[in-house]
Amino acid sequence: MSVTTGTLVEYLLCLADDNMVLAQRLGELAARMPDLEEDIAVANVGLDHLGQARSLYAYAGEVEGTGRTEDDLALGRSERDFRNAVLIEQPNTDFAHVLVRQLLVDAYQVPLYDALTGSTDPTLAGIAAKAVKEARYHLRRSSTWVIRLGDGTEESHDRCQAAVDHLWRYAEDLFAVPPGFEQLVAAGVATPMDPVRVAATNSVHDVMASATLTLPADLALRTGGREGMHTEHLGHLLTEMQWLHRSHPGATW
């Protein structure tokens, strides 16, 4: 079964935008973490996501074949064009929100990239092979932090539980797929989402149990990011991320 160019580009943008927007969120924390060690750690994780975003944007531009570069895709598209899950754009409310958001993303990216290493698309498989190692380290870090906070002091437990209660409604959007996704799965380019969801949910449940935290039930889930329907936070993020490129197109340094 053949894959149309537009379908593949759309899928790559979902993957790339998740990483780009998360990299920007983590970049906001540089020099603002509780200690020097975490400051370096959060910048490292952010740069890993930025690197993944760059590879995916560059490949999306190549597949698209109209000459758009990674900069054009990251810095020249508007809010409604972004395909990241709505979870990713949620603000850095406090340390617990940062780490719980990261845990939910990491728990999803590890099985996702792991499966994509077997993609029939060799470029995507190569990007995934590099990214899965980073994602496994990210998951280790976010899991231990959420357990430390959840099973820590009363204050850290309550803040961590509040972050889980708030962010869980957005997590479902990670598993939303773009139009034509079935075509990509049939061709072996993309990986089916159900096994990814099962693996991700299992790791989150394990961490919640160790962290003495509970996932909220009966929550109205908020999705739509993969279709460009974002929460109010993404526009502000993009304004800051894109203003230089938009004010001075083609600027180099």
Partner: protein, 94 residues
């Protein structure tokens, strides 16, 4: 720096390659051993500086007292170095 409740200082040792010793490279703050190892990885090994690392609570290191320096390290015994001895000609090359 140690704003996090229960944060302690940990000494970091990195092995640069197989067959080499772990070398002390610095220290990190963390609340537990896992956190210390992860902080050490992020701070000291992100540019392929190592293949293995150890973290040890700084308080678990029993150190010599600088005030004892002269008693412990001050007396130079030149005869403890092989270069102190003159090798008789008949020994030839050793």
């Amino acid at each position: 720096m140690a704003d996090i409740v229960g944060s302690q200082l940990w000494e970091v040792f990195v092995r640069a390659a197989r067959g080499l010793n772990h070398i002390h490279v610095g220290s990190v703050h963390a609340t537990d051993a896992d956190g210390a190892a992860q902080a050490a990885r992020d701070v000291y090994t992100r540019r392929s500086e190592g293949v293995s690392l150890w973290v040890v609570r700084s308080t678990d290191i029993h150190a010599s007292d600088p005030d004892d320096h002269d008693d412990w390290f001050g007396d130079a015994h030149p005869y403890r170095h092989p270069t102190f001895y003159e090798i008789p000609d008949e020994v030839g090359h050793m």
